[in-house]
């Protein structure tokens, strides 16, 4: 086995290099910048045989990447936060035109307040845009899920683009020990890129994304829905094959000590690692807690989650985005829908916003609340788990009670 020290951005670049991307069009944005920089460096040095298109915005970055991929090559781009927001028009276009681009999204809060730091509000804002979404727990996940994402996205039953989401700074800039793979094995695993649906070829012209009347629109949207449904089985197959070739197990959801747990916390991203660590520590004290990690958020694994949690009495869900105006965060809302009709007390927690750390103490506080609810010793929970007591006085403009 070969190990390298890589940060999350480095692992994303390693995967794009292993996938032999032929066109790169990326616009730098904190904390994604080192992806754009490293790719340009590789192209300049001739270590990556690709065309690097310098673009003036993320909107163009995705436009160029999608068009390039339609000509029959793998194209690469990456973004974060407001970059993803600016790109969002073309994000939908890539999905609707069935261009299976794989894009790292380095999770950073959407504005305002202005922030450079991690939360999931950026990726969550485009969760229904027709892209697959994977969330990484650690840097190894970034490499593994990126490689798998190419094979899944390009599968003829899927043909949907994929976002591989990695937490800004906590993963993008965290250096970790990563097992890296042989180019030949990756070539064998993902194969050469062959466009299977739409393509651009001057010898054989095709209209793509032309005006679609109401007579056809629903059906084209339905095709995307079927692709999403198909993706569930394809993901499981690809994860199995990845395990056979590379020896690392992966799954759509991961059940961590949930079997006999009195309280289970649903989490995604880097905080799910901290949640597992805290579960280990609390288990040593005889407290039965477990973690359900969501690896694949789109398509949302509602069947798997229902199967895993159907016998539970108390479940907590940790959202790293605010879900403003909704009854709760987006993950909580969908977990509730997955578990509807079952007698389960599902508590939604919002935290870790705009770079606020999710330390062991925050996770332990949640587990303790859930255990108290399980024992009937507590009714209410702390919905915004890490908000300061003086929240309403911070940078106060108008006194609101």
């Amino acid at each position: 086995m070969t190990y390298k020290m890589l940060d999350g951005n480095g692992a994303a670049v390693e995967a794009m290099k292993l996938a032999r991307v032929k066109v790169v069009s990326a616009y730098p944005i904190t904390p994604q910048s080192s992806i754009a920089e490293k790719l340009s460096e590789l192209v300049a040095k001739g270590e990556l045989d690709a065309e690097y298109i310098r673009v003036e915005s993320e909107h163009t970055a995705m436009s160029a990447a999608a068009a390039a991929q339609l000509t029959g090559v793998r194209a690469a781009t990456a973004t974060s936060s407001v970059g993803l927001a600016l790109m969002s028009e073309v994000v939908g276009l890539a999905a609707g035109c069935r261009v299976p681009i794989v894009m790292p999204v380095v999770n950073r809060a959407l504005v305002a307040p202005w922030s450079l730091w991690c939360d999931h509000s950026d990726a969550m804002s485009v969760r229904d845009s027709g892209w697959l979404q994977f969330y990484c727990q650690n840097v190894q996940d970034v490499l593994d899920l990126m490689i798998m994402a190419y094979k899944i996205a390009e599968h003829e039953k899927v043909l949907l683009p994929a976002m591989v989401c990695l937490d800004g700074f906590f993963l993008s800039h965290s250096m970790q020990k990563v097992e890296v793979y042989d180019q030949k094995l990756v070539d064998q695993f993902i194969g050469e890129y062959i466009p299977k649906n739409t393509y651009l070829n001057t010898e054989d012209p095709m209209f793509i994304c032309d005006l679609t009347p109401p007579e056809d629109f629903t059906e084209l949207k339905y095709q995307q829905k079927v692709a999403m449904d198909n993706a569930v089985d394809v993901i499981a197959e690809v994860q199995d094959e990845f395990y056979r070739i590379f020896g690392r197990k992966s799954s759509i959801i991961e059940e961590y000590m949930t079997e006999d747990a009195d309280a289970v916390l649903v989490a995604l991203g880097s905080m799910s690692g901290t949640a597992k660590h805290v579960a280990n520590e609390m288990r040593k004290r005889g407290l039965r807690v477990g973690v359900l990690k969501i690896v694949v958020y789109r398509p949302f694994p509602f069947k798997q989650i229902r199967e895993a949690l159907k016998a539970k009495k108390v479940v907590g869900v940790f959202d790293r985005s605010a879900g403003l105006g909704a009854q709760g965060g987006p993950v909580w809302t969908e977990v509730c829908a997955a578990l509807r009709g079952l007698d389960i007390d599902i508590r939604g927690y919002v935290g870790g916003l705009g770079g606020r750390d999710v330390p062991e103490t925050t996770i332990e506080k949640i587990f303790n609340e859930l255990l108290d609810i399980y024992k009937g010793k507590r009714i209410l929970h702390t919905n915004w788990i890490d908000v300061k007591d003086n929240a309403m006085e911070i940078r106060e403009v108008l006194k609101v009670v």
Binding site: P31, N138, F170, M175, K177, G273
Partner: protein, 184 residues
Amino acid sequence: MKKLKFFGTGGQGVVTAAKIFSTAVSLYEDMHAITVPAYGHERRGAPVITDVVMDSEPILMNSFVYVPDIVVVMDETIIDKHVDVSAGKHDGTVLVLNSEEPFMLERYKKIFNANEIFYVDATHIALEVIGKGIPNGSMLGALAATGVVEIDSIEKAIRESFGEKAGDMNAAAARKAYENVKKL
């Protein structure tokens, strides 16, 4: 599991030091380490803090360090920049300090009154050996003196990170600091 906090100022190579340390224990000692850098509005001279978690098992947690086992202070003046380097310390916490200035040693002794303190003028060693006052290499040597990592592993990781020429010089600085570190 051991948790470390590196304190310094922009321009000293604090993040690089933490990354090299992680490389040393991960690639040359069959351990696992992650760096958790706290990025802010970077500029030369501003306080920089980076955390490292190391363990014999792959590391699950991914958050900042609040209860450090080792505190590395690369810039002695950091305590005058509204940074509490002793936050979360426990009886077993070890301090590795870049200073031999008696007045500063007294101040740190007061803060870490019950703790082991390793100290060396790593900036001076860096100036002597590499010709630049960037103490990240030499401080890693001082850190090795605590026994948390072998000096050989540090030297290998430095050479890997800095390349041949700068790597040799920084490795020499690390070795010199390792041999000259004193204990309070």
